[in-house]
């Protein structure tokens, strides 16, 4: 008979879950140069990321975080906070959930969703730094763009659906009801579906 696996996730993930790095002590973020908050409690996860920045070099010198989230969210943000220290803002902005998952030695597909939040909060913190420092031109808005006019479905909705498991156009429709009225949005939606599959799952 086989013995139980030690842990549902990788050893690396376990390490970061057991002793998460860079947790923000208390609630005060006044000392930080950029703060971002993403997610909401109703959905079961929320993330706050705060960064300190060397303004000359635009390099992240410190990154702290807090979360209401599951093991994957805790571990992936812990590792993310280590990864981005020393990076330029631009480099950090482009760290993807896939990079984080790779550092952790892989995440189950259905857990990618949980790890995306740290990433998003980090980008929000970077944008927050830019706008605080009069560099609004650098703010890279992650504003949602409506793809399906009939059902009011945005590219963010499509991304969420992919993260929650949609892999085909049909599954995307099931989850979002996109493309169920005039059908005009089909081509663009299929393109985005492939794009997000590639970004998050390398598929």
């Amino acid at each position: 008979m086989l013995q139980a696996g030690e842990w549902a996730y990788t050893e690396k993930l376990k390490e970061h879950f057991m002793s998460p790095k860079n947790i923000l002590q208390g609630d005060n973020t006044d000392d930080f140069d950029g703060v971002g908050m993403e997610g909401n409690l109703q959905c079961g996860d929320q993330m706050l990321v705060a960064i300190k920045v060397d303004k000359e070099k635009e390099v992240i010198t410190d990154c702290k975080w807090k979360t209401y989230g599951c093991a994957s969210a805790i571990a992936s943000t812990s590792i993310l906070s280590e990864m981005v220290k020393g990076m330029t803002l631009d480099q950090a902005f482009h760290v993807s959930p896939k990079d984080v998952a790779k550092e952790l030695g892989g995440l189950p597909d259905h857990k990618i969703h949980c790890s995306v939040l740290g990433d998003k909060a980090l980008r929000a913190a970077i944008n927050n730094f830019y706008s605080r420092n009069g560099m609004d031109d650098k703010v890279k808005e992650e504003q949602a763009k409506i793809v399906c006019q009939c059902m009011n479905i945005t590219d963010h909705d499509i991304e969420d659906a992919v993260l929650e498991g949609a892999r085909t156009y049909y599954e995307l429709q099931e989850r979002t009801k996109l493309g169920t009225v005039c059908g005009q949005c089909k081509d663009e939606a299929e393109m985005l579906l492939e794009k997000f599959k590639h970004i998050h799952f390398g598929a």
């Binding site: 079961g44 807090k66 209401y68 949980c114």
Partner: protein, 398 residues
């Protein structure tokens, strides 16, 4: 220390059941065969059937062995969309099925499937303790209702329903009554005659028996339609060569329960009291889910403000303590527990809940160990939480 507090998910084999199974492995005959090997298997199957029937006050002919609790529930619900004349008469007229919002997924998902196949399915609400709304049931019970299915004990919060009263209401309106008693049989007294039900589901692995074996009580005289066809086994009600070893184990499991249940449940209730008071004393901003009295003795479901359930589960796992979470994040869905939501707790509270379910092997030492580890674990998670403000979090029912 290794602590198993997830007995509502499944239970370890009773040592007596284990012995019976080991001995039973020598028996390999097909109960349908007429030779000695077959007759040996048949004798054991029928002996188990008598034990199980006795245990729930049924006649042995009223008992069908099936592959699981899930199969039994599927069988009953599916009866009511079967259109052939040998099945429940008049069901095409009575195409409405009433069940509850807090059933096990094997009832909920089957109901949804039946709705696609033409049945009219209605879901009863529950109150903040998880009790079915009887006024609502009364108002739903029309001439169109063929079946009402209400679980006897809820697997997540432990709440017990008054099946006897519900059955009377259902029968007055000419409908059939089913109860999923998978979590109830062997934990609280169950007598099918007293309850009056037409169908009752039970499963061995929740009461220290083997997995993959269940039993369905079908009251005598009720037309029936098998879910699995193509064999004369179980009097034509469930095809497939009998799981003789499983049946043997189920028989032994109920035999042991009939000896141990009463004292055991009293002991578990005491343990739960200690656990509950301990949590109350040591941890702020909590909320107990389920009914304060009408509940399974070994089950305690509790929500912690600002702490996410899966994180709690896994930190406890690292300390050797096994519990389960209402939020099914780990199983791939991000939806909070449908049961907790039905009791009116908000999604955030539901995400921060764990179920502690004790069993016959649980001890006071284990409870004390949990009471030592849990406060630290919750504190640790709350320290890194964006969602915890001491005393400022509301965790409450509706």
């Amino acid at each position: 220390m290794q602590v198993y507090f997830d007995n509502n998910a499944t239970t370890p084999l009773h040592p007596e059941v284990k012995k019976e199974l080991i001995a039973g492995m020598e028996m390999f005959g097909n109960p349908s065969s007429m030779h000695g090997f077959g007759r040996e298997a048949r004798a054991n199957v029928e002996d188990s059937r008598r034990k199980v029937a006795d245990f729930i006050g049924a006649h042995e002919h009223e008992l069908v062995f099936v592959g699981s609790g899930s199969e039994a529930n599927n069988t009953v619900l599916s009866l009511f969309v079967c259109g052939t004349s040998q099945c429940i008469p008049g069901t095409r007229m009575r195409s409405t099925i009433i069940t509850t919002k807090i059933e096990h997924p094997c009832v909920l998902e089957t109901s949804e499937c039946l709705a696609h196949r033409g049945a009219n399915v209605k879901f009863l609400d529950v109150d903040r303790y998880g009790k079915v709304d009887l006024d609502q049931l009364e108002s739903m019970l029309g001439d169109d209702v063929g079946l009402v299915s209400v679980m006897m004990a809820n697997n997540e919060i432990g709440t017990l329903q008054d099946i006897e009263t519900i059955t009377k209401m259902v029968h007055e309106r000419g409908a059939y009554m089913h109860t999923d008693a998978v979590q109830a049989v062997g934990k609280v007294p169950v007598d099918v005659r007293k309850l009056g039900v037409d169908f009752l589901t039970m499963s061995a692995h929740k009461i220290y028996g083997p997995k993959g074996i269940g039993a369905l009580f079908v009251r005598k005289g009720i037309p029936y339609c098998p879910l699995i066809r193509g064999g004369h086994q179980e009097r034509g009600r469930r095809a497939g060569t009998e799981n003789t070893l499983g049946i043997l184990g189920l028989g032994k499991a109920v035999e042991m329960r009939s000896i141990e249940m009463a004292a055991e449940e009293k002991r578990l209730l005491e343990l739960k009291g200690i656990l509950k008071r301990g949590i109350e004393e040591k941890i702020d901003d909590i909320h107990f889910n389920g009914h304060p009295e009408d509940s399974l003795s070994g089950t305690l479901n509790v929500s912690f403000a600002g702490a996410e359930g899966e994180a709690i589960l896994l930190y406890l796992d690292l300390e050797g303590i096994a519990v389960s979470t209402g939020s099914a994040c780990a199983s791939g869905s991000l939806d909070p527990s449908h049961v907790l939501l039905a009791t009116g707790v908000d999604a955030e509270t539901a995400h921060g809940s764990i179920r502690i379910s004790m069993g016959r092997e649980s001890t006071l030492e284990e409870v004390e160990y949990l009471l030592e580890v849990l406060p630290k674990t919750i504190q640790r998670i709350r320290d890194m939480s964006t969602a915890y403000i001491k005393g400022g979090c509301h965790v409450a029912g509706r």
